[in-house]
């Protein structure tokens, strides 16, 4: 997994945990690519990504000083206004992306933060992790708790999750009230194309880019939500490192 940093003062100043930016490259693929904001440092925002296809390949080829078009912050982030005293952050694989900001905002809201992070293997575990308490889990037991993040996490009133849709479905089973950030393909990121449809439990669809990407788990019709996106497939991920642009 790689981290890219961009100078983006307005976004850095206003972005909330769970919101995303839509990045466009010229020359590059036609459509922008949405990325969760990973960290904010002063006027810089960072995104976390793994090499998948056209867009990420080009982003990873960026060099210091290159310019890309960054639209955001977009979407509805996590809601941390809560009566609870503590929060559990649950992330799987790249789902780690929104969690540093979630930990930041939760801390600011005076909540005790437990972060449960899982991956298939130790190699794919994202090194850094914030929060008062950190629990790691791997499917193959090569690090931390052997099993899924859902199994590994303590009970809690306030649960924020992000990861493969399959994992989020499991979260929804245990915590119907959990706030989950889902992934869909996006055409515009601004609410006009209706390409990011999320199937709702009450029937019909709404827009991940506008009403989402964060949902109350029980609001989603998990059976109808594609459990994998072409780009969300697990591919051999390159050694961790830090890029910059």
């Amino acid at each position: 997994m790689w981290v890219l940093g961009f100078a983006a003062p307005e976004i850095a100043a206003s972005v909330k945990a769970g919101q995303f930016v839509n990045i466009g490259m010229r020359p590059g693929p036609l459509l922008r690519r949405p990325f969760s904001v990973y960290r904010v440092e002063g006027e810089r925002i960072e995104v976390l990504l793994k090499a998948v296809g056209t867009g990420t390949a080009q982003l990873l080829a960026l060099r210091e000083g290159d310019v890309v078009s960054c639209l955001g912050p977009l979407g509805r982030g996590y809601d941390l206004a809560s009566a609870e005293k503590s929060v559990v952050l649950i992330s799987g694989g790249l789902g780690v992306a929104p969690m540093p900001l979630a930990a930041r905002d939760a801390g600011a809201a005076g909540l005790h933060v437990t972060w449960v992070h899982g991956a298939r293997t130790a190699a794919e575990l994202c090194s850094e992790s914030d929060g008062d308490e950190v629990i790691l889990a791997t499917d193959d037991g090569s690090a931390g708790f052997a099993g899924t993040v859902v199994g590994a996490s303590p009970d809690a009133g306030l649960v924020l999750a992000c990861g493969p849709n399959r994992m989020l479905a499991a979260v929804a089973q245990r915590w119907p009230a959990a706030q989950v950030a889902v992934e869909t393909y996006m055409g515009c990121g601004t609410g006009v194309c209706l390409g990011c449809a999320v199937p709702l439990a009450r029937g019909g669809y709404d827009r991940a880019c506008t009403e989402g990407p964060v949902y109350t788990a029980s609001d989603i019709d998990w059976a109808a939500l594609p459990s994998h996106l072409a780009y969300a497939l697990t591919l051999p991920s390159p050694a961790s490192g830090r890029g910059a642009a």
């Binding site: 393909y185 194309c193 209706l194 390409g195």
Partner: protein, 304 residues
């Protein structure tokens, strides 16, 4: 040099030749950043009489210089449109055409009748070219008799401008254009998306749940310019060109090929201010060439 970019499409006067294409600008309330001063007009997302859920995800897939979509005309239905959007449109300084859809000529007529006279409704664009519905849509669009029947049904119910959105999935677009002209259309929009398919090599099935989708974006521009040109040669009513416009030069290709105005769609997804940039770029081109108004722009419309 001051350039006059206003155009007349039938009885409809537009302050500029660049409109927002249906389904790519929502109801005009969503897109941020756009400098609306440049918007000649807007065509709203396709609507049916009743609310429609649309197709299950995935609904879009990217392709080289293009994208496939199968939204399935998700929409709130005509009553919600009248309640939630028309009142806002009535306050805007550019006309809004409603892209209307139905499963029968009667349904199109009923929809037009319901919307006719509602403040904020500036006209209609009849969608007989949607590739993403089981009934109607494209299937009216590739049969001249069906296309004419739908156009007449709408024409009978309104005095407002009636445009007909043509499908490219025909062997001779001129035949359809002439049929809807004879049936009373004030203009034709050319073209809607092309039917395409993209395969997910992990699932061994189409990427889109609807299997096929409509191809839009720069990839289709040369095809759309050709079809708009063919339509312009076939009829006397104005042709509104649409397909793959991202820059002023693209819009100018349609205008020189014989179009009165153009619509910008997919480009807005990538660049929310695309319409304004296209409008300003056309103005700059005209000024550089010394054309005072679009009437001066040379058109390529040979008789043979």
């Amino acid at each position: 040099m001051k350039v006059d970019l206003s155009v007349e499409v039938g009885a409809l006067k537009l302050r500029g030749p660049v409109l927002a294409a249906s389904g790519t600008f929502g109801y005009g309330t969503e897109v941020p950043l756009l400098e609306r001063r440049a918007l000649g007009g807007m065509v709203s997302k396709g609507i049916f009489l009743k609310p429609r859920a649309g197709t299950p995800p995935p609904r879009i897939a990217e392709t080289p210089s293009g994208m496939l979509n199968a939204i399935g005309l998700q929409g709130p239905g005509v009553e919600a449109l009248i309640r939630d959007y028309a009142p806002q449109w009535a306050t805007w300084d550019f006309p809004v055409l409603v892209n209307i859809n139905g499963e029968s000529a009667a349904e199109y007529g009923e929809l037009a009748g319901r919307l006719d006279g509602v403040p904020g409704i500036g006209g209609f664009e009849i969608n007989i070219s949607c590739p993403n519905v089981e009934q109607g849509g494209m299937y009216f669009g590739n049969d001249p008799r069906a296309a004419a029947a739908v156009t007449e049904a709408v024409r009978r119910r309104t005095k407002l401008p009636v445009w007909v959105k043509l499908t490219p999935m025909v062997s001779d677009i001129g035949v359809i254009a002439r049929a809807v002209e004879a049936a009373g259309a004030d203009a034709v929009s050319a073209v809607n998306t092309f039917v395409g398919m993209s395969i997910d090599l992990n699932a061994y099935r189409p990427r889109l749940s609807f299997r096929t989708g409509g191809l839009s974006g720069p990839a289709i521009r040369p095809l759309a310019v050709h079809l708009a040109h063919q339509a312009a040669r076939a009829v006397d009513i104005p042709v509104v060109g649409v397909g793959g416009i991202t820059r002023a030069d693209d819009a100018l290709e349609f205008l020189v090929a014989g179009c009165r105005a153009v619509q910008v769609g997919t480009a807005t997804f990538v660049n929310p201010n695309a319409i304004a940039e296209v409008h300003d770029g056309v103005a700059a081109f005209m000024a550089a060439k010394g054309f005072a108004s679009l009437a001066d722009l040379p058109r390529f419309l040979p008789k043979d």
